[in-house]
């Protein structure tokens, strides 16, 4: 044993296993407080997130725009359930895999696609790009691309809410890689000490870029809350109704007690970390296994099984969304690029600016 440990530091040969997913809920939507008519909009939005990103990938591969492109495909139940459970004025902040959350929050596909294209009509005026979607009007605070660096920002949003006694809570998403950052530990300590109304959510999709969670994090992720006396738990991110079940209670409790909560959501991304990821760290079998729990398919099947909508009605919605996304591409392509002066807008610039003469 000792000899073997000497041969390597980081564990090898470990992958993310679907068996770690919590069992999905058996509760009906009505038990979870959802009406029949609530489900189709959720389905529509989850499908919009997916179709948007598929087309975005296609346009990226056609060289229509540059930069990074991190796809959320596979994780749509997390964003959809969050927006469903939260109030419209609760504050959401996330990391760089952010298209899904923005679309869930209601930022238009046009504004999102235009942002990918770097156009002035983008949700950040073309100055943020894929990783920095912002829609502050919808209490969507970005899009942050330094891993773990926005975790204290989430706590700060909550601090201001508590200070202003406005009844809002904050929810802060990050990936499993961010759990390893010092920022998480400093923030957790203060959030618990200061009793900040914030839900920290790690979207554990199994891989910190190409390193499986088993290879980059010691212990279970949600247990990191324990050290600070922070309540914590695990949720199934591949199933919308399970997410609603888990989040609902947590959000209520955080709002009521003004104490933070750390939720580990087990989920999976179907695509690579970025668009140039050969994904040699996982097998196709593993990918297929997770795809068999696809959250969008599950919700569709549920809707059909419960006879809430017919296949034909669902097909119509799909067709509608397909067209909406194509329209978004058209919108983005036809939009103007930001004006040159935008280079010096939204940032302090000395009046008699001597540096660019």
């Amino acid at each position: 044993m000792a000899k073997k440990a000497d041969e390597t530091f980081t564990p090898t040969g470990k992958v993310y296993k679907s068996t770690t997913l919590p069992k999905p809920t058996r509760k009906k939507h009505t038990t979870l407080g959802l009406k029949d008519e609530d489900l189709m909009p959720v389905f529509r939005n989850m499908y919009l997130q997916r179709r948007f990103e598929e087309r975005a990938a296609q346009m990226y591969q056609k060289g229509k725009f540059g930069g990074f492109l991190h796809l959320y495909i596979g994780q749509e139940a997390v964003s959809a359930s969050t927006v469903h459970v939260l109030n419209d004025d609760d504050d959401i902040i996330s990391a760089y895999r952010v298209h899904g959350l923005a679309l869930a929050r209601g930022t238009s596909p046009n504004a999102c696609m235009a942002e990918l294209y770097g156009k002035k009509t983008g949700c950040s005026k073309g100055k943020g790009g894929s990783m920095h979607f912002f829609d502050v009007e919808r209490h969507f605070w970005g899009g942050h691309a330094i891993v773990g660096a926005h975790i204290p920002l989430g706590a700060g949003l909550a601090m201001a809410n508590k200070y202003k006694k406005n009844g809002r809570i904050a929810i802060c998403f990050f990936g499993d890689g961010a759990v390893d950052q010092g920022s998480l530990n400093e923030t957790f300590n203060m959030a618990q000490l200061w009793k900040l109304p914030v839900v920290f959510v790690v979207e554990n999709n199994g891989y910190s870029m190409g390193t499986s969670v088993e290879r980059h994090s010691a212990g279970q992720l949600h247990k990191r809350g324990e050290a600070y006396g922070m309540k914590n738990g695990v949720a199934n991110g591949m199933d919308f109704l399970s997410m609603v079940e888990s989040l609902k209670d947590v959000v209520e409790e955080v709002r009521e007690t003004s104490e933070p909560y750390f939720m580990e959501v087990k989920t999976y991304r179907y695509r690579g970390h970025s668009m140039s990821d050969p994904q040699n760290y996982r097998t196709k079998d593993e990918l297929e296994e997770f795809r068999s729990f696809d959250p969008i398919e599950r919700l569709k099947d549920y809707i059909l099984k419960e006879k809430i909508q017919t296949q034909k009605e669902i097909d119509e919605v799909i067709e509608e969304v397909d067209q909406e996304v194509l329209d978004a591409i058209d919108f983005a392509e036809k939009s103007d690029a930001p004006d040159d002066h935008e280079l010096f807008e939204d940032i302090y610039v000395q009046e008699d600016f001597p540096f660019h003469k």
Binding site: E54, Q58, Q61, K62, G63, M275, S276, P278, N280
Partner: protein
Amino acid sequence: MAIVIDMPKLSDTMEEGVIAKWNVKEGDTVSSGDIIAEVETDKATMDVEAFDPGTVLKIIAKEGESVPLGGKMAIIGEEGEDISDLLDGDDGGGKKSEPEKKKTDDKKEESDSGKSAKKDSEDGDSEDKDSGKKEDEEFDPLFGELEDDKKSSASDDEGEDESRIKVSPLARKMAKEQGIKLSDVKGSGPNGRIVKKDIESYEPSSKKEAKAEAPSGKAAAKPSDASNYEDVPISQMRKVIARRLGESKFTNPHFYETIDIDMKKAIEVRKTFNEMPDVKVSFNDMVVKACAVALRRNPKVNSSWLGDVIRRHKDVHVAVAVAVDEGLLTPVVRNTDSKGFSEIGAEVKELAAKARDKKLQPDEMEGSTFTISNLGMFGIEEFTAIINPPNACILAVGAIRDVPVVEDGKVVPGKRMKVTLSSDHRIVDGATAAEFLQTLRSLLENPMSMLL
């Protein structure tokens, strides 16, 4: 509608991809998101997915073939659809899809290919020219600049000395403004850098002047395009001017004081005089007379530097600068202070005429104790003059100007004239000069007092 699957950008840097494997064959149905092929990029083997559902109608690029970015790989559509349009000029084979690249609507590619085409033609042009070729041969990416330096310094002999002189930017600017040749100035700064102080205290010795003239004379004599200039022989008068005034300017420490004089009364008095028959008095005559009286009252100004002593002249002899064709002459009105306006006027008139006719005798130009230069008739408001040795001072007289003046709290039209006294600091100090100017002003402002 059938859709072309073209080679996607699967890595930031790939320009082409090799089809490693097709996961579908013609006739298969695919859904959006299906992995239809594997492509070897410059970095790794990557999956190619279908973004639209349909039937594989045509596999254009075979396994092992290389397809450029954006090149056609396959066509997906509805079974039985006519795809001849899409296949036009492209009957299989990835390599042949090259021309298609230019047809894509990718602006970036278009502009790139446009650029390269232009470059090609430019290269072609330059090869035709010998000079272009020569340049190519001589160009050395590492030492190119060095070569350039050599060339420019070889072709620019005159500039060389100046350009290698160490001089502060301020001193360089000052030298340029004052027409001082930097090569004549000795730098006192680190490594001989010429600094402000050196320009301020610069005095050309005649030796230095001669030295400075020699190379420039040489340069002028150099056979180049003779139509660019005309060499004018230096007249005796110019030589004298050059020597005397050069000496004066560079050996006598000049300083300058300007005073503004109210000429209202002078104008009135002159008018009264000129109403008398046979009398013609000019402002200049009045200034000459005023200076003479002022000199009498301020004898320190009526002096000369003789090296070991300062000579105070007992007589006042005012010289008046007269412009002539070849330069200027300074005939002297002797015992000026004892003469009246009209006497002075007549004498100046006569001397000036003689000067222009080159009939002035040397003794008519010698022995002055003070000089006046008047450019008022040219509209010059004020200027500084170079002292006429061995005088201690020279007065530069400007034009009489119409200016608004405040009298009893009201703005009324006024007449003003500026005079500037250049003084040799070795003889005259600032306060002495000022006292002289004050006297001069009060005389001209109350002209009748001159007659007393």
